[in-house]
């Protein structure tokens, strides 16, 4: 499917992903891939909780680090490829019919006056859009008309021409359970402390700023937010930007340039990829979360220097994300930190999905692993998700932030953040930190962790293939076949659950998936309702691919030993 939607890595190798993933790690010999070994080391729980985190193999992970990527069953893979094959064949057939005007062409067309211009699009470019994406387009861009909280209201729309155009019926589907928004801590609210604070600021400041930070758009509110963010992150200083995507794409070029090397995880978000490209530095890609691959690149880079000239690299910057939003995996940060120290590289950590959502007090992946924020050179994250606002930040040493204040593209050329948005972030951040005098924020963080474990565990028990780390609130569930992408999205909406489904190119071609985002705002009843519906639709569409059935745990509390109990 051409779902160039979001969160997809821009480029991604499609080769044999199925066999590169390991089973749950019970049978290490099954496909002997690197991830398997890593997993084995990390799941080893260090008995000495207080020991320093920088010791080797096993010791650097204080808690069980369980990540699973069950391999694609062979039959499913074959059927999936066949599905794409049939779709492609029919696509060609229908393109042929359209060309001969046998079938009506719904595409918007070029103006008559410009017919002689070089075509704006290559015909092939839109093949997927026309013939695959269009069939299931109704699963995306569903307009909502309420707070994107635990439940939302969706505008009903229909299409009479096979999704080429939509008509709004004027009816509203109320109280759809929202499993799609990144509302991890449930701060997407239209009432309560945060919304009240934002409302007050709206009346006082208005919504715009009409200038840049560097010129005359640096409000006292911005300064307040940055001080608070630095405190929250545990770093010397921080800087906030108006858009999360631009935080990456407009600041990486300020940090590295020609003669520098960027080592980037293959599944990094498009914004990181764009930032890396704009910087002019050399980019090398390492396998997702694969430390051997990263170390090899680091070693080679230092030993061989720059290509051709063999001059030593000026700097090496490692780009990783905290939680990978399409895989649900968590970065192997302790390994990366020790590698980065050993090879004197710099580390850029994008916590778009992990800030607020991981760690005992919501400080993100650094706290999750019990590391020191100072070990990460550039702490980046967004305010869109856990804070229910918009924008992004960069935290680090005072020198770094001072430098960015004068050299960031965003600070000099882009309009600064809207004051009410800033206030929403300040209020929600204070709530998480407990500075509002309550424990409500802390409760949200705990609730999210509980919900995540519960939801993931239940899905696994039902027999779905679930990717990612047990603690990650991003829960990808494998659908594989192209037809099931649309079917799953529709069937779930029919039963009043809003889910996100994704396919190629945001994922490898055979690994289409549904993605749930667990929120602290979800009550147990909501999750149970959602789970029941998923179970029902899963049976209907035969989505229970997993061959590692877990033994249902009845009502035993989840502890660190539960992951051992699965049988083939």
């Amino acid at each position: 499917m051409v779902l160039n939607m979001t969160e997809g890595p821009v480029k991604k190798p499609v080769n044999g992903n199925g066999c590169c993933r390991t089973s749950n790690g019970v049978k290490p010999g099954m496909n002997g891939c690197v991830k398997n070994h890593l997993y084995q080391q990390h799941s080893y729980c260090s008995s000495d909780e207080k020991s320093s985190h920088i010791c080797h193999n096993g010791g650097i992970y204080k808690r069980p680090f369980k990540e699973s990527f069950e391999e694609t069953p062979m039959l499913v893979a074959v059927l999936t490829y066949m599905g794409y094959g049939i779709l492609t064949l029919f696509g060609y057939l229908r393109d042929f019919l359209r060309q001969w005007k046998i079938e009506k062409c719904h595409n918007a067309t070029e103006r008559e006056e410009q017919k002689e211009f070089v075509p704006l699009y290559q015909d092939f470019e839109n093949f997927y859009t026309r013939n695959l994406y269009m069939r299931i387009r109704d699963s995306w861009n569903r307009p909502i008309c309420s707070v994107p909280g635990a439940k939302f209201d969706i505008l009903e729309r229909v299409s009479y021409d096979y999704n080429w155009t939509f008509k709004y019926t004027g009816r509203i589907v109320n109280d759809v359970i929202n499993m799609g928004s990144y509302n991890y801590l449930g701060f997407a609210e239209n009432s309560g402390v945060c919304a009240d604070a934002a409302a007050e600021i709206t009346l006082k400041y208005g919504v715009g700023v009409c200038s840049t930070r560097r010129e005359i758009g640096n409000l006292d509110k911005h300064e307040e937010l940055e001080k608070l963010a630095a405190k929250f992150l545990g770093v010397d200083a921080a800087m906030a930007f108006g858009m999360g995507f631009a935080t990456n794409s407009m600041n990486i070029p300020a940090l590295v340039g020609k003669g520098c090397l960027i080592l980037s995880d293959e599944l990094n978000h498009a914004s990181l990829v764009l930032g890396a490209r704009l910087s002019g530095a050399t980019i090398r890609v390492f396998k997702h979360n694969n430390m051997q691959s990263l170390e090899k690149l680091l070693k080679d880079a230092i030993v061989h220097g720059q290509p051709r000239t063999h001059r030593p690299w000026k700097k090496i910057l490692i780009l990783v994300e905290g939680i990978y939003s399409m895989e649900g995996s968590i970065v192997h940060l302790p390994d990366i930190v020790s590698l980065k120290k050993k090879y004197k590289a710099y580390l850029y950590l994008d916590e778009a999905h992990s800030i607020g959502a991981l760690g005992p007090t919501g400080r993100g992946v650094v706290e999750y692993f019990g590391l020191d924020p100072r070990d990460v050179d550039i702490m980046m994250g967004t305010f869109t998700k856990s804070f229910g606002a918009a924008g992004g930040y960069i935290g680090g040493t005072k020198e770094l932030v001072d430098y960015l204040r004068t050299h960031s593209h965003s600070a000099v050329y882009a309009t600064s953040m809207s004051p009410p948005v800033v206030e929403q972030i300040i209020a929600s951040m204070k709530c998480i930190m407990g500075e509002d005098g309550t424990t409500l924020g802390q409760e949200r963080v705990q609730q999210l962790a509980e919900n995540t474990r519960y939801f993931r565990r239940k899905l696994q028990e039902m027999g779905f293939i679930i990717y990612g780390n047990d603690d990650s609130p991003v829960v990808p569930m494998m659908l594989y076949m192209p037809a099931k992408i649309g079917a799953f999205g529709r069937e779930m909406l029919k039963r009043n659950i809003g889910v996100v489904v994704v396919g190629f190119p945001a994922t490898p071609i055979i690994e289409s998936r549904a993605r749930f985002c667990v929120s602290a705002a979800h009550t147990k009843e909501m999750l149970d309702t959602a789970l029941n519906v998923i179970n029902e639709v899963g049976d209907l569409l035969q989505l229970k691919y997993s061959r590692h059935r877990l033994v249902p745990l009845l009502d035993r509390p989840f502890d660190e030993t539960t992951y051992e109990e699965n049988e083939d």
């Binding site: 919304a195 009409c210 840049t212 005359i216 758009g217 004068t406 593209h409 309009t415």
Partner: protein, 475 residues
């Protein structure tokens, strides 16, 4: 820090020693062995193994010795990082900068909508309905009914088929250009194009050809040049898309682009036009539709118009509009659209209300133009300072007539003028650029912004003050 030559030599030795069994490998090996003897390594270990360990040691040494540059250059003590002005309270007509109460001549709040009660109330209502954030990109439940309404309204306002909104003004044109122009395509750009256009071009990886600012002859010259080249390689020419990227009202020069000529060139040489209207939208034309209305050019002749909603509309974000054939493509290919969280609904609502006001009160645009002309006239003939920009442009530049020698000292002089005015209740700012990143760095200048909220007295006062400052500081 760089590797000392000796280390580099060692590294080469190491590499050669591991592979150097062929050719004169023997002598090399002997040399290697001798060196190791000197270093006190026992010869008892098998030769092959020894070679390996030696090179391993060397690799470790190289790694040990490599010192990267610091992540950010150390700030020198004499030249500390310039600090930002701190604005306390709202950045509207009356602004408090660094504790000084001033009249704002620096924010792009042309229509004074930032402080408008209707806009604020609409935003507030929206906040009470939707909350602040959208918690998702447009594709994944980040599309709100207000986004659809705003797109619809913008398209109707501009009289185009479709509009698409972005959540960040800078990202709008920077995402739109690479959505169409790819590697191998050719883009003709005005030298004075703003930074977001430059970044869009860079992301597109197309061939970029600059023409002199607003110089149509120069543009035609390079178009002709290209035509000749195309004749040499017609097969390639058939698939090479061409675009002209211009601004309606140039941010960096305050000049208006000669759109009718550009349209002629467009059809003559079959090049598409992308027009960036961040400053001209809501400013030029009888209804504020921008430079197309100003010149009476048919808007369908422009392939894509992009503008931000951060100036006239006094909200946040940006939009592109044009024919559906062009615009719709961005919904899957505009990176800043697909991969970013959508615009907070309250900001979209604010923009809708601002559009309402613009549609209701067309006098506002005439009023703005009159004020621009007024201050423009007042500022003529200051010795030492020249006014750069169109007389109907609400944002124009004051440059030094004669450079004092270096950019640095020019900046310092202009800064003193800004400070002088700031102390006397007029808030101005210099136009800031990233000097090393700009392709064609504009000369240092003070950017004066006119808004409808400034009264005639205030405009005269500002003009007189600038004159006074120039006299005091430049003489």
């Amino acid at each position: 820090m760089t590797l000392a030559p000796a280390d580099a030599g060692q590294q080469q030795d190491g590499v050669r020693a591991t592979v150097g069994v062929s050719g004169d490998g023997a002598s090399l090996l002997r040399a290697q062995a001798n060196r190791e003897l000197k270093e006190g390594i026992k010869l008892k270990t098998p030769k092959f193994f020894k070679k390996l360990t030696a090179s391993m040691n060397e690799i470790e040494e190289i790694i040990e010795e490599w010192q990267p540059e610091p992540l950010v250059p150390r700030m020198s003590k004499e030249k500390p990082a310039p600090s930002y002005n701190i604005v306390s309270g709202p950045p509207c007509h009356k602004i408090t900068v660094n504790g000084k109460q001033c009249i704002n001549f620096a924010s792009f709040n042309f229509l004074g909508l930032l402080d408008n009660d209707r806009v604020k109330n609409q935003a507030l209502q929206s906040l009470r309905k939707y909350g602040v954030g959208t918690c998702g990109p447009r594709g994944f439940y980040g599309t709100f009914d207000v986004h659809l309404e705003l797109e619809d309204r913008l398209a109707k306002f501009m009289r185009t088929e479709e509009a698409i909104i972005y959540s960040y003004g800078f990202a709008t044109i920077a995402s739109a250009i690479p959505a169409y122009s790819k590697r191998g395509d050719i883009v003709f750009v005005d030298e004075a194009a703003c930074f977001s256009i430059q970044k869009g071009l860079q992301a597109s990886r197309s061939h970029i050809k600059y023409f002199r600012h607003n110089d149509m002859e120069d543009l035609e010259r390079i178009l002709k040049q290209q035509e000749l080249e195309d004749q040499k390689n017609p097969r390639k020419a058939r698939v090479t898309r061409r675009f002209i990227v211009v601004e309606g009202l140039y941010m960096n020069t305050g000049a208006i682009c000669p759109l009718p000529e550009l349209v002629k060139l467009k059809y003559k040489y079959k090049v598409r036009i992308f027009l960036e209207e961040s400053l001209s939208f809501g400013v030029l034309g009888q209804h504020g539709r921008g430079v197309t209305e100003h010149f009476g050019v048919n808007i369908d002749d422009i392939d894509l118009i992009s503008a931000n909603m951060e100036n006239s509309l006094a909200s946040v974000g940006g939009f592109c509009c044009g024919r559906s054939f062009v615009i719709d493509h961005q919904r899957l290919s505009g990176q800043g659209y697909c991969f970013s969280a959508s615009l907070p609904p309250m900001l979209a609502s604010a923009a809708i209300e601002a559009l309402n006001i613009m549609e209701e009160d067309q006098d506002i645009f005439r009023l703005l133009r009159d004020k621009c002309k007024l201050i423009h006239k007042e500022l003529q003939g200051i010795s030492g300072l020249k006014v750069v920009g169109e007389s109907i442009s609400p944002a124009f530049h004051l440059q030094l007539e004669q450079s004092s020698g270096s950019r640095e000292s020019d900046v310092r002089i202009l800064n003193r003028i800004v400070e002088y005015c700031m102390d006397r209740k007029i808030a101005l700012t210099q136009a800031h650029y990233l000097e090393k990143e700009e392709k064609f760095l504009p000369p240092p200048s003070i950017r004066v912004v006119v808004t409808v909220e400034q009264t005639e007295e205030e405009l005269e006062m500002a003009a007189n003050l600038i004159k006074e400052a120039a006299q005091n500081i430049l003489q």
